[in-house]
C-alpha cells in the first residue's frame, strides 16, 4: 500500500488509456478551435463571402435594379451574372498545344496558398493565377497529369496580355500565383477582383440588360442580407461563397462520437481499475483502518495516485499531440485549400479543457469506486 508500484501492469494500462484519451482530446479540441477560428478569420477577411446572388423576376428591370442597389448604403457593388465570370486567353501562353483559355472569376481567391507574388488588391488591375496552367488537349486526355502543365510562376510581376472573351486585348499584371499542386478540381481558374472583371466587361460587351441573368451584390455585412428582399423584382437571395464546412462537420461529428466513447470507456475502466485495487487490497485497507487510518486518508491516497497517473498521462499526451499536430495539416488537410494554410498548436486553453475533462472523468469514477471503502465490513475481514 505504502510502496504502491507506479509501474505495475495495471497502472501502465490505465496510464495508457488516460494518455490515449488525453491525446485524442487535445488533438480534437485543438482541431476544433483552430478550424473554427480559421474559418471566422477567413470569412472576415474575404469579401468573397459577402457576395450574394439575387434571383429575379423575369419582368424585373435589371438595369434599374442595379442602379437602385448601387445607391443603397449597404451595397458596395452590384453586377450582372454575366459579368461574374468569363473566359479569356493569356496570349503569352498561346501555342499549338495550348489555347491558353482560362476562367476569370471576379472574387478574391480567398485562402488559396499564394506561393509567389502578392494577394489581390482593389486598386490595381491584375490577376492571380494558378502556379501552372493546363494545356487543353492534355487536360482532356488526363487532367491529373501535372507533368504536362505549363509553369507560369516565372511571370509573376510581369504584365500579361489577356484576350478577353476572345475579343479585346487587355494588359493585366500577374500579381501572384497560388499553389495548385494539390488541387485538380478547377483547372485554369484565375482570380481578378470583381472591379477588374467589371472593367473588362464594360470595355468588351454591350449587355443585353433584359436577359434572364440574375444579379450579384457585394454587401457590406451579411447581417443586412434580408434588406435585399425589399427591392422590387428580387425573388430570392443566395450566398455565393459558403464555407466548405461539410468536412469540418464530419470530423467534429466523428470526434464527438469518439470522445464520448472514450470518456465512457475511461469512466468504466478507471472505475474497474480503482475497484479492483480496493478489492485486492481489501484486507490491507481493513488493517489500516484498525491501526487508525481514517476513510478520508485512505481515499485521499487513491485520489492522489489516480491524479498522478493523470498528470503523467497528460504530460505525455501534450508532447505526442503537439508532434502529431505539427504534421496534422500536411497529413489530413492538405487537399483542402481552405485549411491547408492553417498551423495548429495546442494552446493553454486546449490543455486546460482536456485536463479538466480527464480529471473530472477519472475523479468521478474514482469517487464512485471509493464508496467501497465507506462500506468496508470489518467483521468480514476479521473472520476471513
Amino acid at each position: 500500500m505504502k510502496k504502491s508500484n507506479i509501474l505495475s501492469l495495471k497502472n501502465v494500462t490505465m496510464l495508457f488509456l488516460i494518455f490515449l484519451l488525453s491525446t485524442f482530446l487535445l488533438i480534437g479540441i485543438t482541431y476544433y478551435f483552430s478550424v473554427s477560428k480559421y474559418y471566422q478569420e477567413y470569412v472576415e477577411k474575404n469579401h468573397g463571402f459577402r457576395i450574394l446572388y439575387l434571383l429575379l423576376d423575369d419582368d424585373c428591370d435589371r438595369g434599374k435594379l442595379i442602379e437602385n442597389l448601387e445607391n443603397s448604403e449597404h451595397v458596395e457593388d452590384a453586377f450582372l451574372e454575366d459579368e461574374y465570370s468569363t473566359f479569356g486567353i493569356i496570349n503569352e501562353y498561346q501555342s499549338d498545344e495550348f489555347t491558353g483559355e482560362v476562367l476569370l472569376i471576379g472574387v478574391d481567391p480567398g485562402m488559396q496558398k499564394i506561393i509567389a507574388g502578392s494577394d489581390l488588391n482593389d486598386s490595381e488591375y491584375g490577376m492571380i493565377c494558378p502556379s501552372s496552367i493546363y494545356p487543353e488537349i492534355f487536360y482532356d486526355e488526363n487532367p491529373y497529369d501535372y507533368r504536362k502543365n505549363i509553369d507560369i510562376s516565372s511571370d509573376v510581376g510581369n504584365t500579361l496580355t489577356l484576350k478577353y472573351g476572345g475579343i479585346k486585348e487587355f494588359k493585366l499584371k500577374l500579381l501572384g500565383v497560388f499553389d495548385r499542386s494539390f488541387d485538380y478540381t478547377d483547372p485554369n481558374v484565375c482570380y481578378v477582383t470583381h472591379k477588374t472583371l467589371r472593367y473588362l466587361n464594360d470595355n468588351t460587351y454591350d449587355y443585353d440588360i433584359s436577359s434572364n441573368s440574375g444579379i450579384y451584390v457585394l454587401i457590406d455585412d451579411l447581417k443586412n442580407r434580408e434588406k435585399l428582399y425589399e427591392y422590387k423584382g428580387v425573388e430570392d437571395v443566395y450566398l455565393v461563397t459558403t464555407i466548405r464546412s461539410d468536412k469540418l462537420q464530419n470530423i467534429i461529428f466523428v470526434l464527438g462520437i469518439f470522445t464520448t466513447i472514450m470518456i465512457s470507456f475511461i469512466v468504466v475502466m478507471s472505475y474497474l481499475f480503482t475497484n479492483r485495487q480496493i478489492i485486492n487490497n481489501y484486507r490491507n485497507i481493513g488493517i489500516l483502518r484498525i491501526v487508525g487510518y481514517s476513510k478520508k486518508i485512505l481515499k485521499r491516497r487513491y485520489y492522489i495516485s489516480n491524479i498522478k497517473l493523470c498528470i503523467i498521462a497528460i504530460t505525455l499526451s501534450i508532447i505526442v499531440a503537439n508532434c502529431f499536430l505539427t504534421n496534422f495539416v500536411e497529413m489530413f488537410l492538405y487537399d483542402n485549400p481552405q485549411l491547408s494554410l492553417m498551423n495548429m498548436h495546442t494552446t493553454l486553453n486546449t490543455v486546460i479543457i482536456s485536463t479538466v475533462i480527464i480529471l473530472m472523468t477519472v475523479l468521478l469514477s474514482t469517487y464512485i469506486s471509493l464508496k467501497r471503502i465507506d462500506n468496508l465490513d470489518i467483521l468480514e475481514i476479521i473472520n476471513d
Binding site: 500500500m1 505504502k2 484486507r283 490491507n284 481493513g286 488493517i287 489500516l288 483502518r289 484498525i290 491501526v291 487508525g292 487510518y293 481514517s294 476513510k295 478520508k296 486518508i297 470489518i378 467483521l379 475481514i381 476479521i382 473472520n383 476471513d384
Partner: protein, 223 residues
Amino acid sequence: MDMVTVESCSKSYKKNKEVILALKNISYSFKKGIFYSIMGPSGSGKSTLINILGGLIEPDNGKVLYFGSTIRGDNNLSKLRNQHIGMIYQSFLLNENMTALENVLLPTYINHSYKSIDNVVRCRQILQELGLKKRENHYPKELSGGEQQRVAIARALVNNPDIILADEPTGNLDKKNEEYVFKLLKKLSTDGKCVIVVSHNEKILKYSDINLELEEGELREKK
C-alpha cells in the same frame, strides 16, 4: 477512571430481510488498569462489541464514551484509535507484503514520515522486548503463528495506547504462546492500561481481573 464506556448500545445486522440482534442495549464502563475478559458462545456479539469499542463499528443506538466524552466522526474516531487504542485479532491481520518492522511502523505512518528515526528506534525496541529482534525483516509468511501475534501486539503497542482490545488473541496459538500472550496482556494491565480481551479460552480466567459474559447480546459480570 473510566477509559471507555458503552451506554445502552445495541447493534443489529440485516441479512436477507432477517434481522440479527447482535447487541441488546448494553451498558458498561471499562476502567484503567484492569484486565477484562469477555466470554460467550459463538455469535453472541463479542467481536461486534470489541469493534464498537474500537470505533470501527457504529452502534445503532446508544453512546460510546472515551475518557468520559463522546467522540464523533470517522476522522476523530480514527485518530483516537491510532493514538489511544491498540487492537489485536485472532488472525493477526498483518500486511503480508511488509516485514515485521514495517507492519509495526504502520500506525506511525499517518502523522510521521516513514523514515522517522525515532519511530524506527521505538518499533525496534518494542520488537526486541517481545523477543523478535532477529525477525525484524521477516515477512509474516516467514514467521510462526506465535511470532506473528507478537508482531501484531507490537503494532498495537507502538503508539503507547491506553486501551488494548483483543479479539481471541490466542485462538491460533499453541499453549506456550497462549500463556506468553496472556502474561503480556496482564502485564500491560498492571502497567495501567485498560485491557479488554475476548476469549473462548478458560485459562484467561487465571489472569483477568473482571470476567464478563456475553450471551444472546447481553453483557453480565461473572464472579
